[in-house]
């Protein structure tokens, strides 16, 4: 296993809830609460969870698009450990080329008034990549790498389908040779047949360019297909993290079990096995005491209602935050 590219330790983000004329703090939303993980160079870490669990906020904190409340983020750049949270001003701006982002919706993340050439060239120009000709060469190479025809470079985004637009977004994200690419639901807005193309493309590019991905998604089958390791988030915390096969075959957290077994499978007659969780996803501004998952958990005991479980090792490179992880036998897939 190669070195860690990114090391997150105790990352926390609380958003204040303000009320009234003087923006008095009335409470706080625990969007991300004490999240720690590492991503090795060239690896894909999948981050799954339902809406409001903090997965997107985690991605944005790493990119410094929003500021953290607490925690450490260390980025390993050529054997040099860089504290992401300490970067300021121009330093931060120059560092951004090492971390890029691919968004969910390829319809709102491309400027309709710019040609494809300008869209892909923009990061190159912003970081003074080189002369006009060098930039154009690089754009051509990128367009080809993501499987778009070079003849399309003078067109505007409206002329492209969702899948082609997502290819443009990928080319733009890769323009500056980033080390880390944060993919925030990159295929959830796409049709099934196109989704497979984009997943394959992301895998090919990773192999070719040695990219490291933080792959954020709500769809477990997509995450399984692309990730080497998977972290499951619930109400701002990581509740389980393990290598992909281990997590899917031997889940230790009841939430992971339910997520996998609630997913409709393209096999007729499989529906008898569906596990249905009662209630709603926990509200991060008003978390239940103890384990945040206990109101929906079918294995909950008194202890779960009082003590918050900490993330602990339950197997080789397998961590889980459940009081009963050792005693329960859960169903994988």
């Amino acid at each position: 296993m190669s070195a860690e590219l990114l090391k997150i330790e105790g990352l926390t983000k609380f958003f204040p809830i303000t009320t009234g004329l003087f923006r008095r703090a009335a409470g706080r939303i625990k969007a991300v609460d004490n999240v720690s993980f590492e991503i090795a160079e060239g690896e894909t870490l999948g981050l799954v969870g339902e809406s409001g669990c903090g997965k997107t906020t985690t991605g944005r904190l790493i990119l410094r698009l929003i500021e953290r409340t607490a925690g450490e983020m260390l980025f390993n750049l050529d054997e040099q450990e860089i504290d992401l949270a300490a970067l300021r001003g121009d330093e931060l701006r120059r560092f951004r080329k090492h971390m890029q982002l691919i968004f969910q919706d390829p319809f709102s993340s491309l400027n309709p008034r710019m040609t494809v050439l300008d869209i892909i060239a923009e990061p190159l120009r912003a970081h003074n990549y080189g002369t006009r000709a060098e930039i154009e060469d690089r754009v051509r190479w990128l367009t080809d790498a993501v499987g778009l025809q070079v003849e399309y470079l003078r067109r505007y985004p409206h002329a492209f389908s969702g899948g082609q637009r997502q290819r443009i977004c990928i080319a733009r994200a890769l323009a500056l040779n980033p080390k880390l690419v944060i993919c925030d639901e990159p295929v959830s807005a796409l049709d099934v047949s196109v989704q497979a193309q984009i997943l394959n493309l992301l895998k090919d590019l990773q192999k070719e360019l040695g990219l490291t991905y933080l792959f954020i998604a709500h769809d477990l089958s997509v995450v399984e297909n692309i990730s080497a390791r998977v972290a499951v988030m619930y109400a701002g915390r990581i509740v389980e993290m393990a290598a992909t096969a281990e997590l899917f075959h031997h889940p230790r957290h009841p939430y992971t079990e339910a997520l996998m077994n609630a997913l409709p499978k393209p096999v007729p007659g499989a529906r008898a096995e569906r596990i249905v969780l009662p209630g709603e996803v926990a509200d991060p501004s008003n978390l239940p005491p103890g384990c945040a998952f206990h109101p929906r958990c079918r294995y909950a005991q008194d202890r779960c209602r009082q003590e918050t479980p900490e993330l602990r090792s339950v197997g080789e490179a397998h961590v889980c935050a459940c009081h009963r992880a050792e005693e329960l036998t859960l169903r994988g897939v």
Binding site: V194, K203, L220, I226, L259, P264, P268, R274, V276, V333
Partner: protein
């Protein structure tokens, strides 16, 4: 009439500034009472437009240019109702909407009015269709909210949509759709906007209600998992046409059309690990203004036969097994089916 709804040769076109879009082409569909027809396809395949044509709620530029949509009469006595001949805003059509055929949409926030309480919206439908007094309608609304599993229904009836979560909103929409006991429920991507655990709740709810109320359902979705778990019969659509139709077992276990095969191969399946590359269908959906000649799928088809698939009319629908039909030149003749 044996079926609840019979659609024959339905053609829907959109007359736009940029040209004419043939959104639905020669679609035949049967929905028997009490069963679920799953309609699956990617964006632009005409699945939602077919449903909207059945309720005559096409967008302003959409027109039904040919075909028939027949609805079985309520008590089995009179003649079937020909929906395509009714005026979209007329009294008969309004009685069918909500009374005989109801529809639930993908995004619950856009199908609820933000300035009325959910109770008032359910009561409106009851009062329009069933001549009930205000008090009766309110009782009925509370009863419906309980039926769809809204906790504290007596209090939630006075809530506005923004006060409810996505899952609860979708439950309210379902309550509204079912309050007049329709014979057919059209569910257009009912769980696409919901989280996985909430999706499982809503799918179970729809399944339970269908059994309890004995209605037929048309489940429209792009999600093959949802189709496999809810449908009895499946129609696969591509670019405005049905390319394959059959029982759910036939479609998933013995698919025939290259498009169905491609779709099934491109879904990532849980438990398969990360080693495999996904099979994908090459190319993208063509421009709706310039559909390919011949078979609409031929530019992306791995079995495309030169000067057969790319010219002339689209392939005819052939029977390949009992109750299993395919429109593909690989199956040029009907298989004789012994019953």
């Amino acid at each position: 009439m044996e079926n609840l709804v019979e659609i024959r040769g339905l053609d829907v076109r959109f007359y736009l500034k940029e040209g004419t879009v043939h959104a639905v082409n020669g679609v035949d569909m049967d929905i028997p009472p009490k069963s679920t027809l799953g309609v699956v396809g990617e964006s632009g395949c005409g699945k939602s437009i077919t449903a909207r044509a059945m309720l005559r709620i096409l967008p302003p530029r959409g027109k039904i240019v040919a075909g028939s949509i027949r609805l079985a009469p309520r008590d089995g006595k009179a003649k079937p109702i020909e929906i395509t001949r009714l005026a979209p805003g007329g009294r008969e059509m309004r009685a069918i909407r909500g009374g005989d055929i109801s529809m639930i949409f993908q995004e619950p926030m856009t199908s609820l009015s933000p300035v009325h309480t959910v109770g008032n919206q359910i009561m409106e439908s009851v009062r329009l269709h069933q001549n009930a007094t205000r008090a009766e309608a309110r009782d009925r609304a509370v009863e419906m909210l309980r039926l769809v599993g809204v906790p504290m229904a007596e209090r939630r009836i006075d809530a506005y949509p923004h006060e409810l979560s996505g899952g609860l909103r979708q439950r309210c929409v379902i309550a509204m759709a079912l309050c007049c006991h329709p014979r057919l429920l059209i569910a257009d991507e009912p769980t696409t906007a919901l989280d996985v655990t909430i999706q499982a709740q809503i799918l179970n709810l729809i399944e339970r209600l269908q059994k309890e109320l004995g209605m037929a359902m048309m489940m429209i979705t792009h999600d093959l998992g949802v189709i496999a778990e809810s449908a009895d019969e499946v129609a696969v659509m591509y670019l405005g046409r049905i390319v394959e139709r059959g029982g759910v077992e036939d479609i998933f276990n013995r698919p025939k059309h290259p498009y169905t095969l491609g779709l099934l191969a491109s879904v990532p399946r849980i438990g398969k690990g990360n080693a495999e590359r996904l099979a994908s269908i090459p190319g993208t959906l063509p421009d709706p203004f310039q559909k390919p000649l011949g078979c609409p799928f031929h530019p992306r088809c791995p079995h495309c036969m030169k000067s057969t698939c790319d010219i002339g009319d689209p392939p005819k629908v052939r029977t390949v097994a009992p109750d299993h039909e395919v429109a593909c030149h690989l199956y040029p003749e009907d298989v004789e089916v012994r019953s």
